[in-house]
């Protein structure tokens, strides 16, 4: 039987002792609203059983927030959904108990019928749930209002008219302007932040005792994230509900948690009050996570190169408008994605381009390589001693330029052709350039793989055999194949887990030292930019707001927009919470 086979260490690892649990309970000075004991969940897959959650125990207290932290695959989301019995059919709860305290005494959620009346009364009624993807978590074909009304009618004895009035009240409560009109709008007419607000309104419609928030702000920009977290904190204060928050972001944890449980590979490796986790962690994994996060919160120890003399790349007045051609053949620009951007990149420099979604940073990066043609402006390339205008280059010249300025992509899965071996992927630019053949080519590919920290033997494998971080290394090796001068890294680390992210950044810094590279580093994550870059360009709505040394931008920004952006970044230190008393930017 697959159920009984467990890894030898699984039973050997100690549970938190009874005494330690008592500590937790007395510390909160009241009984928990919900307690989970020894929860285990197995996924029955085709070839194996994955023990996704193993022996997890925790308590939720009124008015308090517990954060479940972990990297991808740690089982944190499954744990959260199991509380509402919302797990996939192939997942089975194989042990443990989930006890909900209610006015009518204890309720064992794990023993209820999976879709029975009792558990449905709990869902939405006693426990509310919000998700990561505000885009897809709401039905696209129903109005926002009707989706909230439905929740109200299910759990609260109301007439339709009362429910409508209550919906407007709820939308106002989550700070949506014009709630009367907005209730009749569809989800796709809402921005990401607004959708998440509507989602919160829906989850809180029936005044639940517990709110489960599964990565509620991961898909949002930092300033929006800060606003949403503000809102949740305020509502928690007002209603006194307990909150279970699932996140991978330790900074966010430090900002909002009262206590923390760190998960890895289905187990809680360490749990305790937030201060203890951050300032006296016991488990090596917790320490590793923390150091990866903390390291990114400081600048790497490197001296910035001189920004005098001749820059490698000079961008002047670059513009890109997206729009349509009207009937007379004139271009009408509905949106200016990039508006009059000027910047310089000096040799050996790491230039960061920071901005929220829609700021035009990705379009800018792609225009530098003319993947997207600029509508206006100039890009001057001075890598070969003399100046060449990139926007006017023809094919052979452009190919040469593109071999000197390379791109590393965000998505390590989409950027490698699944039909090609790693050798074919990395060798492709060399073959096209006609630089090397046969054994020399193979030797070069092997060298490149070693350069990015992979084994030579990896070259015979296909991309599907590698993890995200390893794939990103392959992408970097491809970029290095033609001995480039500049690498444009477009969100190159944002799809990676925090510990892998730090490794890849260190690899890039190491390569820079060895190969005399310059980087244009496009990112939305300010801590990554602070760690990696010498100078930073802040973009907002297609324009450059502020340019300056990284340390200065990250600690003493001059412009109000930058100030609001920086202060919205969660600080991974629970003793110094800054997100909740941040500067706001009214634009």
């Amino acid at each position: 039987m697959p159920m009984t086979t467990q890894t030898p260490s699984a039973t050997a690892l100690a549970k938190p002792t009874r005494a330690q649990h008592d500590d937790l309970v007395s510390a909160a000075a009241s009984a928990p609203v919900l307690s989970v004991r020894g929860l285990s969940i197995d996924f029955h897959l085709r070839t194996h059983v994955l023990h996704a959650v193993r022996d997890v125990s925790f308590d939720l207290f009124s008015g308090q927030t517990l954060c479940l932290v972990g990297e991808s695959g740690s089982g944190k989301s499954v744990t959260a959904r199991a509380l509402l019995r919302l797990i996939d059919p192939q997942a089975k709860v194989s042990g443990g108990s989930i006890t909900l305290q209610g006015p009518d005494g204890e309720l064992r959620l794990d023993t209820l019928a999976p879709n029975g009346r009792e558990i449905r009364a709990v869902r939405g009624g006693r426990i509310g749930l919000i998700f990561q993807e505000p885009m897809s978590s709401l039905s696209p074909v129903h109005t926002i209002g009707s989706q909230i009304v439905e929740a109200l009618l299910l759990h609260r004895k109301m007439t339709k008219a009362e429910a409508k009035a209550e919906t407007v009240k709820l939308l106002r409560q989550v700070e949506i302007a014009n709630p009367e009109q907005m209730a009749d709008r569809y989800t796709f007419e809402f921005s990401g932040g607004m959708r998440q607000r509507a989602m919160i309104a829906m989850a809180l419609a029936c005044k639940p005792d517990i709110l489960i928030a599964d990565e509620p702000t991961t898909a949002l920009d930092v300033t929006t994230q800060a606003e949403i977290m503000d809102l949740i904190a305020r509502l928690q204060r007002e209603t006194g509900m307990a909150m279970l928050m699932i996140t991978h972001d330790l900074g966010l944890v430090a900002e909002v948690a009262d206590s923390v449980a760190v998960m890895r590979w289905g187990r809680v490796v360490e749990q305790g009050p937030v201060d203890a986790i951050f300032h006296a962690p016991h488990h090596p994994y917790t320490r590793k996570l923390l150091s990866a996060t903390l390291r990114l919160d400081t600048a790497a120890k490197r001296t910035a190169p001189a920004t005098t003399g001749q820059p490698l790349l000079s961008v002047r007045g670059l513009c890109k408008g997206f729009g349509t051609t009207n009937w007379r053949g004139q271009q009408t620009f509905a949106i200016k994605a990039v508006d009059d951007v000027s910047l310089d990149l000096w040799p050996g420099e790491n230039l960061g381009i920071v901005g929220e979604s829609g700021s035009g940073k990705t379009t800018l990066g792609r225009m530098l390589l003319r993947i997207i043609e600029p509508s206006n402006g100039s890009i001057l390339w001075q890598g070969n001693g003399q100046a060449a205008e990139v926007t006017k280059m023809q094919r052979p010249e452009l190919a040469q330029y593109r071999s000197a300025v390379r791109l590393v992509f965000q998505d390590p899965f989409a950027s490698l052709n699944p039909r090609m071996t790693v050798k074919q992927v990395i060798a492709d630019p060399l073959i096209v350039a006609g630089a090397l053949k046969g054994a020399a080519l193979e030797a070069r590919v092997g060298d490149l793989l070693e350069l990015v920290g992979l084994e030579r033997s990896a070259m015979e494998r296909y991309p599907h055999a590698f993890s995200g971080g390893q794939r990103q290394r392959i992408g970097i090796a491809r970029a290095l194949a033609l001995d480039p001068r500049v690498i444009i890294a477009d969100e190159a680390t944002s799809a990676l887990d925090v510990s892998i992210r730090a490794q890849v950044l260190d690899l890039l810094l190491d390569l820079q030292k060895r190969l005399d590279l310059s980087f244009v580093f496009i990112a939305h994550d300010i801590s990554v930019v602070r760690y990696f870059c010498d100078r930073v360009v802040v973009m907002h709505k297609g324009r450059i707001v502020e340019t300056g040394p990284a340390e200065q931008i990250c600690t003493r920004p001059a412009e109000p927009y930058t100030q609001s952006l920086i202060s919205a970044v969660p600080n991974p230190d629970p003793r110094n919470r800054r997100m909740l008393h941040r500067t706001r930017f009214g634009a």
């Binding site: 919302l86 749930l129 978590s137 074909v141 299910l154």
Partner: protein
Amino acid sequence: MWVYVVKRIFLMIPTLFGISLISFFIIQLPPGDYLTSLLASMSDSGQTIDPAEIARMRATYGLDDPMVVQYFKWISGIVLRGDFGYSFEWGRPVSDLIWDRMGSTLSISLAALVFVWAVSLPIGIYSAVHRHSVGDHVATFFGFLGLAIPNFILALTLMYVSYKYFGQSVGGLFSPEYIGADWTWGRVWDLFMHLWIPIVVIGTSGTAALIRILRANLTDELSKPYVVTARAKGLSEFNVVMRYPVRIALNPFVSAIGWVLPNLISGVTITAIVLNLPTAGPLLLRALVSQDMYLAGSFILLMGVLTLIGMLISDVLLALLDPRIRFT
């Protein structure tokens, strides 16, 4: 919304033009023109015709004009006067012959469409919700079978089975004793007994295709986060499925009018020939075999137009159903 409808109608115009070109092309395809066919058929039956009359007719029909002019004469006759030309085989204007037949084609197609929907909706939903259950496998198997059996073979088989085992004649719409009889309950029942075979025959492949599409779409939709949201709200499983994913997976059902209708009309054509139903099909085949081209071309044109109208209706319904289409 109205803007959207008007836009759709305007987009139809080039397609309509294309369809009329194809129909005209088919009319012109057989060697010789309409009058040579007419003369041939007349001399077959021993009639003679005055050469002056021939010349007059050549002029009226513009048979000596260039193709483009002929096309415009033909199409403007249809659009402005409802004049589809003349059927020499029947010796009557085409417009006298087609409308009845097109009407019955349309009504049988619509009946088949209703059948397709009524059968595939519940089975599709069941299959998607109970994936890999016994019922799902049975439905999938019959779905494959339904797609694999061509209409006319199914029609022949059903005809054979009902002739052999029930001793029933299944051709036509009525048994001999009811043809031309007054409407009575007996006649209605007789019509129904004749109609179910063509409807089942025509609808089978469409049903099978729609079950597969609905199953695939609904399976996709069921794994979307908004379904979990609906569950987390505390809705019962039945309501979760019916109110959200089914609502969205219904889109292919509505857009099905657009592509199922041409299939159904195709199906009616060939099935009607096998079962000898008084629809456009048998008449079209006969017209084609005897090269009565104006009649044949008119049928092809009207069938094309019918499917275009079907597509328009399905687009409009889709926009009503899905706000995302309406607003963009």
